[in-house]
Every structure is written in structure tokens, then in C-alpha cells.
């Protein structure tokens, strides 16, 4: 454990951009955990006397049409947005990687079934498929998570399958087999760590994509419902104010959304270096 930490510190020290993105990620996580407790105002409390006030020392990011403090709402929304992104990517990563590894290692009918499912998902424009899934399963946050996980699944399954397929005859796999390891054990202890570095880059990219997808769905009125603070829905609420010049209602949640995606995308290379077994020397 200590060694992994030391290695992580080394990787972060080597690349300032990665370190900055990890710092930003930590900020997002802190905001997600502490949420409403560190927000200066109640994110749901409306105050019509202060409606649509521009950014000021009292309200850093201004107030919306009901006079709610936008800064507080953005902080309160972090938990929901991060929660959706992390849990959907965890689901997609878990199911996709296991299915892909099994398909690539086993081959045969399992490979064909997994391949067919993945191809079918990929035959849809992904955001449109997510819309269809949420519309069919029911309009709530849980289904947003499932939909986002499903559209991200093919990337993991394909990558894991390709890697397992190449490595199933590799020397270290044969050695493990000779030592009497079970097939499941070989997949989990020999193949899985080897696909991790590749997966880490994908995780960081799909985290960004997941958060954009969830925000997009709530922008068109799926999943999260007002008055729940969520970045996508906040941008949607500010959309009508843009035309009359109240830019801050949509701008700040949009910027935070962008910063989150940007941060996720930059984290990829650092994460890969941390988990890569070949670099842990």
C-alpha cells in the first residue's frame, strides 16, 4: 500500500498538469461529500426580492429567477452529478470488463453473444439510445445511471476482449495455468491487472462523457427534476434568461460542468501511469 502511494506521488510530481487535474478532482470530491453544508445559502431557498441579481460579493455567481443562490446550488449539485458519473462508470467498467475478458479468454458462443450485444448497442447513436432507455424504463435518476452505463459498456467490453484474446496464450498465463490456477483465477489475477492501464484512460474519458450525457439528459427534462439542483438542469433553467441578457444563470453551472469534464479527461494519463504494473519499479 505504502509503495503504491509512493509511486502515485512520484507520478503526480513528474507531471504538473496531471497533478493539477487530481487536485481539481479532489475539490470536486470534497464538494460532493460536504455538499450543502459548505454552501453559503440554502440551495433550495427562494428569495424573490433578490431574483435574477447579477454576481456580487453576497452572491458570487448571482441568483436565478427564484432568487436562489447559484453558487450554493452548484456546490449542492456536485454530489448528484459526481454520483451519477462515478456509479455509471463503475457499473460499465465492472460489467463490461468482466464480460469482455470472459469473451476474449473463452471464445466460442460466449464471445459471439457478447460481441453481438456490443455491436447492437454500438448500432445506435449513443445519446439517442440513452434517451430511449430512460423513456422506456421510467424517468428517474436510477435509470439515468443505467442508461449511461449501458452506452459506455461497449468500449470496456471491446478493449478487454481484445486484450484477453491476445494474452490468453501468453507465457505468464500458461505458467499460471500450469501452477494449477483455476480459469476464473487466471482471468482475475493475471489478465485483469494487465488491462487496467488501458482501462484507466478509458475510465477518465468515459467519466467525462458520462457527466456530459447525464447533464444532457436532464437538460431535455429527463431524470433529474426541478427544484433539485443539477448542473444540466441549471443550464436549462438559465436558457430562457440568456436571450434577455442574464448570462450568469446558465454560464456558471455550464462552466463547472466543463471544468469537471476537462479535469476527468486530463486525469487519464496520470491514472494509467499509477496503475501500470510495468512502471511500478
Amino acid at each position: 500500500m505504502n509503495q503504491i502511494l509512493r509511486h502515485a506521488r512520484y507520478v503526480l510530481g513528474e507531471n504538473p498538469v496531471t497533478a493539477a487535474s487530481f487536485g481539481m478532482f479532489a475539490l470536486f470530491i470534497i464538494a460532493a461529500i460536504l455538499g450543502p453544508t459548505i454552501a453559503p445559502y440554502d440551495p433550495l431557498a427562494s428569495n424573490t426580492a433578490q431574483a435574477l441579481a447579477g454576481p456580487s460579493p453576497a452572491h458570487w455567481f448571482g441568483t436565478d429567477q427564484l432568487g436562489r443562490d447559484i453558487f450554493s446550488r452548484i456546490i449542492a449539485a456536485t454530489r448528484l452529478d459526481m454520483g451519477i458519473a462515478l456509479s455509471s462508470v463503475a457499473l460499465a467498467f465492472g460489467v463490461g470488463t468482466i464480460a469482455g475478458l470472459a469473451a476474449g479468454y473463452r471464445g466460442g458462443w460466449l464471445d459471439r453473444v457478447v460481441g453481438r450485444i456490443v455491436d447492437t448497442i454500438m448500432a445506435f447513436p449513443l445519446f439517442v439510445l440513452a434517451m430511449g432507455i430512460v423513456a422506456a424504463l421510467g424517468n428517474n435518476i436510477e435509470n439515468i445511471i443505467y442508461a449511461t452505463a449501458i452506452i459506455n459498456l461497449p468500449i470496456y467490453a471491446r478493449l478487454a476482449r481484445a486484450e484477453a484474446n491476445v494474452r490468453r496464450e501468453a507465457g505468464f498465463v500458461e505458467a499460471a495455468r500450469l501452477c494449477g490456477n483455476s480459469e476464473t483465477r487466471i482471468v482475475l489475477t493475471q489478465l485483469f491487472p494487465n488491462v487496467m492501464p488501458l482501462m484507466m484512460v478509458q475510465i477518465s474519458l468515459t467519466l467525462g462523457y458520462a457527466i456530459l450525457n447525464a447533464a444532457g439528459l436532464s437538460f431535455i427534462g429527463l431524470g433529474v427534476r426541478p427544484p433539485t439542483p443539477e448542473w444540466g438542469i441549471m443550464v436549462a433553467e438559465g436558457a430562457s434568461n440568456i436571450i434577455s441578457g442574464e448570462w450568469w444563470v446558465a454560464l456558471f453551472p455550464g462552466l463547472v460542468l466543463m471544468a469537471a469534464v476537462f479535469c476527468f479527461n486530463l486525469m487519464g494519463d496520470g491514472l494509467r501511469d499509477i496503475v501500470d504494473p510495468r512502471r511500478r519499479t
Binding site: R116, D119, T120, A123, F124, P125, L126, F127, V128, L129, M131, G132, I133, A135, A136, L137, G138, N139, G208, L212, A215, G216, F219, I220, G221, L222, G232, V235, A236, G238, A239, I242, I243, S244, G245, W247, A250, L251, G254, L257, M258, V261, F262, N265
Partner: protein, 335 residues
Amino acid sequence: MIVLRRLVSALPSVIGVIIVTFLLTRALPGDPAAYFAGPAATQQAIDEVRHQLGFDRSLPVQFVDYVKHLAQGDLGTSLSTGQPVIDELITRLPASAELTLLGLLLAVAVALPLGITAAMRPGSWVDHSCRIVATAGVSLPTFFTGLLLVYIFYYLMGWAPAPLGRLDVFYTAPPNWTGFYLIDSLIARDWETFTAALSQLALPAFTMALFSLAPLARVTRASMLAALGSEFIRTARASGLSRMRIVYVYAFRNAMLPVITTLGMVFSFLLGANVLVEKVFAWPGIGSYAIEALIASDYAPVQGFVLTMALLYVLLNLAIDLVYGLVDPRVRLEA
């Protein structure tokens, strides 16, 4: 022959798409018949609808029925408008297609030169701006870019018209030939309408372009770099061919292959982004049709929309495959 083979290879995707959309119709939470009967229906009306829609029969029978209806172009009827879904999709499709295609055209027109120039001068300011565009493009939510552009070009500058649909209310739509206002107004030689339609189209198309520019520029740059560093380019240089010929004939044609493959992903992005951009600009396309239906819990249009988009996407991928074969003679030889 190759075209035929490609068509056959697209069949599994089409079948998969039809099965998934069928399953989505059956997966409606609660009782689907109650949904299709509407919120005010009595138990008797619901039972009637259930029988009418065949929900009281076994799943395989229902599926055959569903495919039969599809073959006749029957996607059901919208609850809120009472119109057949297919008719509304067909009347609204040109609006979406015009927006998406112009967006893609803009993106290609900017991304290719940008990527090529960046690859020819690595480390220059063009290269850096290419990287910034590529990173910013994937991080920016489309709906946010759209709103930002509306604020800058409509509210602050006053250059763009209000983001409310395809044409300002003062203009009448050009006679319908293709459904594309730009082309129709050109056919009618109506310059005023052409300019009006173009000014409405400019911001949403630019929003779409910004979004799809990023992957295109990145792949163009990377594959141009790889092509320029390869042995046949060194040979071409050593043989004294002109720089233009080396870059645009030898390197460019080879570098195009990964770019064409990326177009598949770009189309997936574009068709999804289309929905969001249509909402921002009140664009009367199939995306906003689906959103209106979603809000009204009107499922037939949503399902019709998902199916249409998926079939369009399969067709686009087929087209990409064919273009790939045209550009790369090796693919033709193998086939």
C-alpha cells in the same frame, strides 16, 4: 457486388436495432396499455387498447406484429397530436438533416486544414491551437456552447436573429422540393429567403460543428503525422517530388483512412447533439419532436424517433464503409 455485400453485412445491425426498439416499447414501467390509452382512460378502455395493441398475446407474436407494422411504415400514433408518427417524422426530418449536414460540412472544412497544418508544423502556434480546440471541443457541453453563442451573437452583438426556429416569422418557407430551406430557396431564386434561412441556421450549425470538430482535427493531425513520417513519403521526397504533391496526394490520401473511420463516431455524436441543439434553438426537427413527446409521456413518437435515428446511423455507417472502399483500393482487392 461490394455494395451488395456491405448491405448484407449491415443486416445484423438493423435486426438488432429493431429488436431493441421493440423491447423498449415493452419495457415501459407499469402497464404499457395504460400508457398508450392515456391518463384519463377507464379500465375498459385500457383493456381495449391492450387487445388493440396486441399486449395480451405472447411476446414472439407481438414481435412479428411489430415488424409487420414497421414494414408498412406504421410507427403508431402520437397521443398528443393524434397524427401518425411516421408522417410527423418525415415532415420534420429535413430540418434536422439540414442542420446536421451543414454542421458536419463546417466541421470537416475547418478540421481537415487545421489538422494537416498542425501535422506539418508540429510545435507551431497552429499545432497548439489544434490541441486547444481538440480538448475544448470534447469538454464543452453542446447545449452550453449553443447558449453561449446565442448570448454573444444575439444579445451582445445583435448579429444573429432570435434563436426561434428555421425562419423568421416575416418570411414564408420556400416551395418544398428537398425540404432543405437553403437549397429550396436557391431553386426558387429567392435570395432574401436564402439569407434569412442561412442566418437562422448559422449559430446552430456552428454549435454542431464545434462539437464534432475536436475528434476530426485530432485524428487528422495524428494520422497526417504518421503518414508524413512513413517510408514512402521519404522515398517520394528523395525522388524530388514537389511538396504539394507529397502532402496532398501521397500523405493526405493515406491519412484520410482513419479520418473516415472516425466519421462513424462523429455521426454518433452529431445525431445525439442534434437533439440538444434543436432544443436550444427551438429548431423544428425530429429531436425537438421527441423532446416534446417525452415531456408529455407520449411514447410512440419517442420510440419512432429512436428507431429512425438508429436506422439513419446504420445507413451512415454503411455509407462510410463504401467511401472507405473508394478511398482505399486495398479494401476492394480483398473483397
